[in-house]
Amino acid sequence: MFYRENGQYKTTYAADQQMLPILQDRVFMAGLLVVAFVAVPFFASDYLFLSLLIPFLILTLAAIGLNLLVGYCGQISIGHAAFMAVGAYAAYNIALRIPQLNFLVVLVLAGLIAAAVGMLFGVPSLRIKGLYLAVATLAAQFFTDWLFARVKWFTDYASSGSVSTAPIVMFGWTIDTPVKKYCFLLAVLIVFTLIAKNLVRGHIGRAWMAMRDMDVAAEVIGIRPVYAKLSAFAVSSFYVGVAGALWGFMHLGSWEPLAFNLTLSLNLLFMIIIGGMGSLLGSYFGAAFIVMLPILLNQLPTLLGVPISTAMISHLELMIFGALIVFFLIVEPHGLARLWAVGKEKLRLWPFPH
């Protein structure tokens, strides 16, 4: 009833090409931003920030990165935590060795290094695809796991092999409390989402999607697979590298080499499957889902008064993840984002059936 685009005429090219063409969507987005920037910092507790919101924001960034590669370009990767690790360790080393550098510069440099490594491991994608590529990305995963655990230079010769970061100071602003971290991360995420959104609706994103849908046809119409695939790997790894750096500096604070292991890679993959492949909104949904599910599972037994051991919960978590993946692939291959779109479509017609 309220969600109608009747009477909203597009009279300029700018109006035709804007990201949210419907007025109600723009109002909703503005409201959401106000809530996220103003209301949440006032009302949310530290626990909520630390265990839910901060991981959610960072993992969303990583999921967007992976989605650009898997969902938009169709190149599967089951080793993306490797590029998170590259980003985290690159940021750590840059911040350690050039302390006067602004954190934003450190972030971008870490992302660029991750992008370079991502392109390196993306080179096999030029000759192979699909399942074979999965193994190539697994190689990235296990190699970086080993690299950061064994090469002492990366961890600054720490005897335990784990590294810890100093609080971030930027333009004289120390990001130490959960609220500040949240605001900073939210700003970063919004900027990166905007960039991603514009990438995928521009010619680069269209080249990726053409590559995904049918590579031979894409080549025939003049898209060079080398550029399309490697640029997807580079952008994706850049995003994931930045997310990795943020994960290390903002969420973990100090971490050991196995913080970025295969489980994290698979979790990222699950986020985009459950959230929706080839959808930026889906990355948000998926990350929220994966962050919330373990917490819900931990709280639920106590709420219901049924005592379940922690080991049992972790097994249940595995089972629920597994079952959900299969369920989503069968029932809704486009994930939660598709459900959202269906809901919006229904809302447009409501209260009429057609």
């Binding site: 399942l131 080993w146 064994r150 993840f321 597994g322 993946i325």
Partner: protein
């Protein structure tokens, strides 16, 4: 010839790696052969897991990420059941469980996803593998269990008149190798000589043609997944008796992925040869290349066997994407 040159060069490099420790006198021949045998034994186990992958991929085009989880699940089942009953009854029961599992996977996962792309199926098997990991540990428990095959574990000294110090060999390893060889031989017989085996090969060749001459695809898939389940069972029992049955088993089984890459996805022979190459390669790399690298790059310890297999497979993909024995059908783009 020109196209084979990179393969040739890679082969030379691998051979050099194989011979170098001996030729440069970096190790005693006895120790060298021990490492070689150890690598072969590990390779046999990788081959067994890879065999399951190759079977399923051949017949249904599914890249079964859950093979490792199946190995763990089967091993857990045998280990826990054997606490209450004789080992052979436990193995039979576990076999039955694996067949039921195969049927369930076909019914609940594969059938609804029929005609989907390979990548979607891969992710579905990822889901299956998570589910199996959780389910297995819920039902069977998550401690470390032992499978006692009743074979002496103490090493036997052989060839001690030939080399100084002789070669230490585990009797169990020999039994494992023979069991694996017997399994492969019976699989070969099954595929070549029985009507079901012929049907399986027909499905592997061409789904539609097989279906049009009256081969029921669904039943074939159940059979293939059952066979893969049984292969997983054997691999799980052998590995479990060697290392103990524990969660890390399903991670180690991931090594079968580079093995099938190396050998070629669709080839049973490739799975075996690939497994042996990877097994020997990573043991050699760990024992002989590891210390050199630690010294050269000032590392905090070896452990290169964790990634050696994957990087080897990656290099192999670049020079010969279809693997050693695979079909040469990959459209390059």
């Amino acid at each position: 010839m020109k196209k084979n040159l990179p393969t040739f060069i890679l082969g030379i490099v691998l051979l050099t790696g194989l011979v170098a420790p001996l030729a440069t006198g970096a190790s005693a021949p006895g120790f060298y052969i021990e490492v070689l045998l150890g690598g072969l034994m590990a390779g046999v186990l990788y081959s067994l897991v890879a065999l399951g992958f190759a079977l399923i991929f051949k017949a249904s085009g599914v890249f079964n990420f859950a093979q490792g989880a199946m190995v763990l699940f089967a091993a857990l089942a045998v280990a826990r059941l054997a606490e209450r009953m004789p080992l052979w009854v436990a193995m039979l029961l576990a076999t039955a469980i694996m067949i039921v599992l195969a049927w369930l996977v076909e019914r609940l996962v594969l059938r609804p996803l029929v005609n989907q792309e390979g990548v979607a199926l891969l992710m579905a098997t990822l889901g299956v593998s998570y589910f199996l990991d959780g389910f297995g540990q819920t039902v069977w428990g998550s401690d470390i269990y032992k499978i006692e095959l009743g074979i002496a574990k103490e090493p036997v000294m052989i060839l001690d008149q030939l080399f100084q110090g002789g070669i230490l060999v585990n009797k169990e390893d020999f039994v494992a190798t023979i069991a694996a060889a017997a399994l492969v031989a019976s699989l070969m017989l099954f595929f070549q000589k029985t009507a079901t085996g012929r049907a399986l090969r027909a499905v592997a060749d061409d789904h539609q043609a097989a279906q049009s001459i009256g081969i029921p695809l669904n039943r074939i898939w159940v059979i293939v997944w059952s066979v893969a389940g049984i292969v997983a069972l054997v691999a799980g029992v052998i590995w479990g008796s060697k290392l103990g049955v524990q969660f890390s088993l399903s991670q180690v089984a991931l090594k079968a992925l580079p093995v099938v890459i190396l050998g070629g996805f669709t080839s049973v022979a490739g799975a075996i040869v690939g497994g042996l190459i990877i097994g020997v390669g990573e043991k050699m790399a760990e024992v002989f290349l590891g210390p050199v690298m630690v010294k050269a790059f000032d590392l905090a310890g070896g452990g290169i066997e964790n990634w050696f297999a994957y990087v080897l497979a990656l290099l192999f993909l670049l020079v010969r994407p279809e693997g050693l024995f695979g079909e040469k059908h990959i459209d390059r783009v």
